[in-house]
Symmetry: C2
Subunit: 636 residues, 2 copies
Amino acid sequence: MRRYSPVDFTRVSLTGPFWSERLETVLTRTVPSQYKKLDENGILESLDLKDPPPPLRVPFNDQGFTMQYFWDSDIGKWIEAAGYALRHRRDAEIERQVDEIVDKLEAAQMPDGYLNLWYQGHEIENRWTNLRDRHELYNIGHLLEGAIAYYQATGKRKFLEVMERSLDHIRSTFGTGPDQKRGYPGHQEIEIALIRLYQLTGERKQLDLAAYFIDERGREPHYFDEEAIARGDDPTKYHFFNSGNYEYGQAHKPVREQDKVVGHAVRAMYMYTAMADLAAELDDDSLRHACEVLWKDVTTTRMYVTGGFGPSASNEGFTTDYDLPNDTAYCETCASIAFVFWAQRMLNLDLDGQYAEAMELALYNGVLSGLSRDGELYFYENKLDSDGSHRRWPWHPCPCCTMNVSRLVASVSGYFYSVGPGAIAVNLYGGNSAELELDGRRIRIEEQSNYPWSGKIKVSVHPDGHGVFALKLRIPDWARDGVATLNGNPVDVPGQLQNGYLVIERDWIEGDVVELDLPMTPRRIYANPKVKMDRHRVALARGPLVYCAEQVDNETPVPDLILSRDAAITETNRSDLFDGIVSLTAPAKSIGSDDWGLDLYRTTPPTPADTTLTAIPYYLWANRDAGPMQVWIREG
Amino acid sequence: MRRYSPVDFTRVSLTGPFWSERLETVLTRTVPSQYKKLDENGILESLDLKDPPPPLRVPFNDQGFTMQYFWDSDIGKWIEAAGYALRHRRDAEIERQVDEIVDKLEAAQMPDGYLNLWYQGHEIENRWTNLRDRHELYNIGHLLEGAIAYYQATGKRKFLEVMERSLDHIRSTFGTGPDQKRGYPGHQEIEIALIRLYQLTGERKQLDLAAYFIDERGREPHYFDEEAIARGDDPTKYHFFNSGNYEYGQAHKPVREQDKVVGHAVRAMYMYTAMADLAAELDDDSLRHACEVLWKDVTTTRMYVTGGFGPSASNEGFTTDYDLPNDTAYCETCASIAFVFWAQRMLNLDLDGQYAEAMELALYNGVLSGLSRDGELYFYENKLDSDGSHRRWPWHPCPCCTMNVSRLVASVSGYFYSVGPGAIAVNLYGGNSAELELDGRRIRIEEQSNYPWSGKIKVSVHPDGHGVFALKLRIPDWARDGVATLNGNPVDVPGQLQNGYLVIERDWIEGDVVELDLPMTPRRIYANPKVKMDRHRVALARGPLVYCAEQVDNETPVPDLILSRDAAITETNRSDLFDGIVSLTAPAKSIGSDDWGLDLYRTTPPTPADTTLTAIPYYLWANRDAGPMQVWIREG
C-alpha cells in the first residue's frame, strides 16, 4: 500500500543555514555531552551488573516505580543518535564508547537471550511478570534501534546479534502458541524497531512479531489482567500514574477499533507509527483506516498550535476534546517527535500534503523547542504560556526526550524527500543537496534557500539520463498564494496542485530549475472557540514557525499585552539575535495601566496604554533571561 | 473611643419584604432544621460522654485531624441562633432542646470548670496541650455566645453560669502570672465572646481576658513553639492544612505590628473584630490604627467584588495581593459573616460610611449566598464562577457556616442603625420599625421601602418630646446622585454629606418625613487589572446587589457570553422569579459560533452570534436547575 518511501538521511546533505546549524550543534555538542550525562547520572553504571546492586540512583516514587526501569532505553536511544552522528562522520571516541557499552550488553545477556539491566540487576525472578508497567519490551525496542543505527554506521554486527538473540527469546516467550504468553508491551516502541529490522534484513519473522504485538493489543481476555492475577496483584488497580484504565497505554480495545486518541501521548504516537508502518508493509486497509480516523481525531480536537500533544502531566497525555491549556500544557518533546514519525508514515502512504504540513509544524515548533540553542539544555514539557518559572534543564530523571531530540535532528534530512513511482516529492524545504534514486536512476536535487526565514526556494534538477518523472513540491496551506517558475517561466500553481503538492511532470534535464516564492506574510491564527483557553486570543505565525512573545523582548509584561485585531504586524530581520532571525512586531496595548491608585474595583474600565509587542519563533524561547512567555496573546 | 453603638436587634422590627422573608425563613425553617441535623449527624450525641467513646463520626483526615474537635462550637452557635429566634418569639420546643443540651453540658463540666466534649470523651490527659490546632478556646467562645443569647432570650442563667465557671478555669490557667501558661487560641473567637459578656455584665475581668489573648498573640518566645516542644512535637512542623507558618492563625507577630491580612480568613476576621471592639472599649489607639491598616489592606487588595474573602481552599484563606480567582474562590460564608462583624465595629468607631458600604456589600452578597432560598441548603464556599458542579449541600462535616448564617440573619436588624451622641445613623435600608433610645429619649423611626429592589425610601420620625438631634442617612457610593426631601422640601444632599452620610440635624417633630430616592441604575464594575482573573471582564450590580449570569436564565452557555462595553442594560421586574426580583438583561454576543466545522485552527477569527444576557442577584444563584454561573462576564 505504501506508494512512497522515505530517503535515507545520508543521501541528503543539509546546506541551508537553519538545519545545518541545528545538525552541527547536535553532532558536536548534544551527542557527546549526552554520553557524559549518561555516565555522570549512573545510567552507564547499570551496565556493570553487581551483586548486591548499588543503591538506586532514582528512588522509587509513591507508586513504587523508579525511572531506572527504563534506563536501557536511554542507552539504546543514545547509541541510535550516536550511530546517526557516525554516519555523518566517523569518530573513534564515540565508537569506543559504543563498543564498550555493546561489550557490556553482550556480557550481561543471559544464555536464553533475556536482556534487561534492571531485572538482571535487581529482581531477575520477576522478569516478564509485568509488561504493563515495566518497560522490558520498550527497552529492547530502543536498544534494537540503536543496534540498527550502529550497524548501519560502522558495519559492526555484534550489537545487532545481541539484539537478534534477545528477539528470538522474546519470540519464543510471547505469541499465540500453546506454551506462549499472549503478552505485548505496556509502552509501545518495539514494534517500530522490529519493522525497521525487517526493512534492514528482510526477515519476515521480525515483521510478524511487530504485527503480533499490534494485533494482540487490547484483546479480551486482557493480558494485563491475567499477568496481574498471576503475580498476585489486583488487576483493577492500575497503579502507575493513577491512570486506572487501559486507555493510558491504548490497550483498552483492539487497535482497529480505536477511534479516539487517548492516554499517554508518546505511547499513542509510537503505536500509530507502527500501525501505519504495518498498514504499508502488510497492505492492511483496516490498520490504515484506523490510522486515518485517529489522525483526524487528534488534528481536529487534541493538537496544540505548536504541534504539541498531551495537555496533562498526570497521565503524560490526552484528556478531553479541545482541552488544550497553555500554562499547564505537558506537550512532552517525545510526543511531538513521535508524531513526526507517524506523520512521515502517513505521508508516504499516498503523499497527502496534510501529513507533511503537520509534520513540518511539529518539527519546527513542538520538537525544536525541546532543545536549547547551545544543544545541552532541554525541555521535557513544552508549555505555551509561562510565568517565567519554566526553564530548560540540563538533565532529567527520565531523560527520554534528550536522546529523542538528538536522534531526530541527527536524521532530519531523511524527512525532506519521498520517492514514489515516477515521482520525487519535496516535503520540507531548506538548502540541501540530495542524491536520490528513482526507478533505478540517480537524480541529484540541489536546493538553495534560506527557508524558513525566506520563502524563496531554488531547486535545480540533475538527472542521470533521460526519462519522464514528476517533481512534486509541497505548497504549504499558508502559501497557497505562492508562485513558481520553471526555468524562468511561470507555472500554474493552482492548476497543477495535487493533494497539497505542485506537480511538474516532464523529462527533466540537467540544470532545470524550479523557483518557488512562498509568501512569508505573518499571519494570525485563531483557535476553535471550543478551546476555551484560547478564546479572545491570537497566535502569530510566519511560514512554518509559530511565534511567541517572550518577556526579554518586551517592555510591557507579556501577560499585559493586548494585540488589536487590525494592528499591522511587521517583520524585522534581527541579525543580532541568535544566528539571525526574523522577529515580528506590532503596535499593541498594555492592560496594566497605572491610573488605578488604590482602587480594587471601580465603575470605569481600565484605559490600556500604548506599547509594542515583539514576538520571536517559539522554538527559540527560554534561551535568554528568564521571564514570562505566551504563544496565545490576548486580542482585543 | 467608640462614638456610636449598635442597636439591639429586638428594637428593630423588619417590615420590608426583603429581610422579613429571609428572617422568617431562618426562624421557621433554618433554625429548627439545624437542630435535626445536629442530632442526625451525631453532634448532639457527643454531649453524652461515654466510656469507651463511640466510633468517630468524622474520621481523622490525613493530617490526623477530625472535624469533631470543634463540634462544641457548632452546638454553641446553634444555641446562639436559637436564642435569637426565641427573642423574636418564644418557642417551648426550642427551649426544651436548649435546656436539654445545657443540662448535659452542666453534667459534663469537670469540677475545675474545664469543658470540652472532645477531650473529655477521648483524651482528657491531653487537654490544653495544643491550643494551636485543637480549638478548645474557640469552642468555649461559641458556647459563651450561645449562653449569652439564651440568657437574653429567656432569663435562664444556668448556661451562663456553666460558662462563667469555665472562664474562671481558663483565667486561672492562662495569663502572665508565674504559674500560668501564656497561651492564646489557635482559632480566635473567644475574644469576641468575652467582650460581649463584659458588655452584658460589666465585669472587667472578662474584658481583661480578651485583651490578654489579643496582646499575647504572636509574642516571642512563641507559645505555640513552647507547647509543641512540651508535648514532644517539632514546632517547625505545623501540620494542619500544611500551612507551615503562624500567618495561618495571624500569630506570626504581635497584632499591633500586623499590616497585611493573612492566613485563615475567618480567624483573621474574628480577630480584627475583637481588636476593633477592644480599641473602643479600652480607647486603644494602637489597636484602632492596626485595624485601619488591615482594613485598607484587605479592601484594596484582597476582597472579592461580592464581599467574599479568602481565595484559597488549602488554608481557607488569603494568598497574595490581587489573587482573586473566581472558579476556585473559597470565600467561606463564615469569612463574609465575620467581616460584617468587623465592619460594624469599625463603623461604630466614628461612623465612616466606607465601613457600612462594605458591610452592606458582604451582607447582601457574600453572606446571603451561603443560604438557599428554602433555608435548608448551604454554601460553604461561595465561588464567583462555576461550571455547574458547585451546588448547595444540606450539611457539611464542618458545619460552621450553617449556624453562622442563621445567627447573623436572625439578628440582622441589629445592623440597621447606630446611635451616637446626638445622632441616629441609618446604616442599612429596608422597611422597618425601630424603637431607639438617644440620650435618654425614646425615638421611633418608621421606614417604608422596598429596598434593595427599589431605591425609594420613606423615613418618618416619631420622637418622644423635643430636642435637636441629627438623623444620618447613609448615601451609598453608587447613589451619590441620590436626592432627598424633608417633609416634601428638597434637601441639599451633596452639601449635607459627611463621611458618606446625609446629615439632617434639627428639632425633629412627630411625623417629620425624609424621603430618599437612591438611583438604582444598573452599573458595571471593573476590577483593577492587577486582578488577572478579572481582566477583560465586567461585573454587573444594581444597588447593593451584585449580579451573576446563571445558566438557567440564559440560552447561550454562560461561559460563551460576551457583553459589549456599550450595550444598554435593562432592568426587568420579574414577579415570576422567587418572591419577585429585578433581573438585568442586555444584548450580548456568544463566542461559541458554530461555523468552524472540523477546524481546530484557522486564520479568520470567530464571528460571535447575537444573543441576550440575563443576570440575577448573585445571592440567589443555585436555587434552580444546576448549570454554569459567572459573576465576571467577558466584555468585548
